[in-house]
Symmetry: C2
Amino acid sequence: MAQRHLDPGTAHTADAVLASYLRAQATEFLRALRQHRESGAAGETAGAARALRRAARRISGTLHTFRPLLDAEWSDGLRPELAWLSGTLAQEHAYAERLQRLNEALHRLTAANRGGPAGPPAPRTEREAAPPARETLTLGAAKAAALLDRQLTLAKTRSHSTALGALGSSRFHAVADSVAVLASEVPLRGEDIELRKLAAAAENRLTEAVAALHDTGHPYNPDADTPWHHVRLLLRLHRYAQEVAPEDPASDIRREENRKEDEAAHALNAHRDAAEAAGAAAQAARTPRIAPATAYALGVLHADQRHQVEAARIAFRGAWQREAVGTP
Amino acid sequence: MAQRHLDPGTAHTADAVLASYLRAQATEFLRALRQHRESGAAGETAGAARALRRAARRISGTLHTFRPLLDAEWSDGLRPELAWLSGTLAQEHAYAERLQRLNEALHRLTAANRGGPAGPPAPRTEREAAPPARETLTLGAAKAAALLDRQLTLAKTRSHSTALGALGSSRFHAVADSVAVLASEVPLRGEDIELRKLAAAAENRLTEAVAALHDTGHPYNPDADTPWHHVRLLLRLHRYAQEVAPEDPASDIRREENRKEDEAAHALNAHRDAAEAAGAAAQAARTPRIAPATAYALGVLHADQRHQVEAARIAFRGAWQREAVGTP
């Protein structure tokens, strides 16, 4: 297999830039890992785990986008292992955030029901007054909150154990060894391909996926979320590629694009979080022997989160269309 | 009490125009009543009841807006009776429409869940797949539909009996007698007030109520609906006043305003219908001993209709802002 380890100062520019980025991310990965092992407080551990995931995602994404420049067998072997690792480490945090999101939503929904500013009383001559919706919801919301707390805390605890187990496994040690190799010598193929060309291909894949998005008009269909989740991953790959091979990093246009990509990424994260929170509410509603009021509140909560999914799509569109205008 | 019955051809213009409008509506009321009594088929009866309500609303609204021109005691006595009548006659139709609206929403929600166009499968490496929401909803939707059908059909049947009872009551005969008086001689006070001035006051009340509307940010609070229902009634009064004393009826601006008021009225009707449908879903969820899946589907349905309430407000704002631009 054609493979060349970078000898700094002599290799052509693309290789040097790519190797430097990967070495930096690998070093960051190892630093975060050391910090994770040494940390005592929960907050410290969580910060180290976040840094570990962050570096793992960047290494994995870079191996993917710049694959033609790298030893294919080596990077194809490492990528799924990095995905497994960052996926495993993300779970605990994801459950904690989901619980917080659902608690906030329930609070908002029932606060609304306890009454807000009401206008002047209007004559309702033609129809009889609507039955009070608030009682049904307030009744079930507390029970729904308790049920979600129980289920998501359990899932979080399990994820914590799984993550601890993973970090002690031989599978993880093999990943850490590979990353340690990367920190000293990046397995390059010595191909003469411009980084910008590969970064542009990543951007094209993103642009095409965004163009293929369509509003299905089926706001409650979780299958329709999939292309949006896919765009979220492609946007991430595009942004990592920009980190490796930035296009006019100091220009006003690029700064403006970065700002808008931040907004788009934020909307897609909110989209993912709302979709998964809606799923969690639906799953909780399938718990046997729950009270009807609990199930009712979970139904309202589910629909509320699906509403947020739609709102996130609109926010993404808004950010993205502004970006298209800014593109030279 | 100063009161003058209109002698056509001699009275001043405002009185003549007002009396002519009221006589026409009273005649229409009596025609619809005759038709209602003679009709056999359900469709015919419903059509006659609609015409009866339509005329009753117009007479009542006109007595209200142009009150300074009319015998106050007489019109203040008749107005609540007309409101009682049109309210009583509206119930049956309202329940039938509410049931249809909720059935359509349930159909839409579960059709969405049976799957729509799904995009390409995306890798979901970081988080585990969301639990399937569709099963919970599909399970409960059929039961929720059956429950709503039972409850709203019962309410509709009761309203039908109440309406029949009302039409045979001495209270109704007194209303019909008053309207028959109106068809021949309108009880005018002989005041010299321009119709346009009173119509403008009605328009001002509408404009002020619209300006006082604010988005409460509490989409689930039915109390926040009240000012919107009030605007709906004020828009109706404004439009009836325009029928009595039209402002440049042939002008392009007026035609454009009519079109936009149609849109605004449509949005406010949708707002009212969605708010009441949401209330019906919440009320059904309070039925003792329903299955959790039923309650869950009713929760989703409630939130869906509250979402429609919000959408109707946005639609109203859109129509109304365009109208403001068109106003000279």
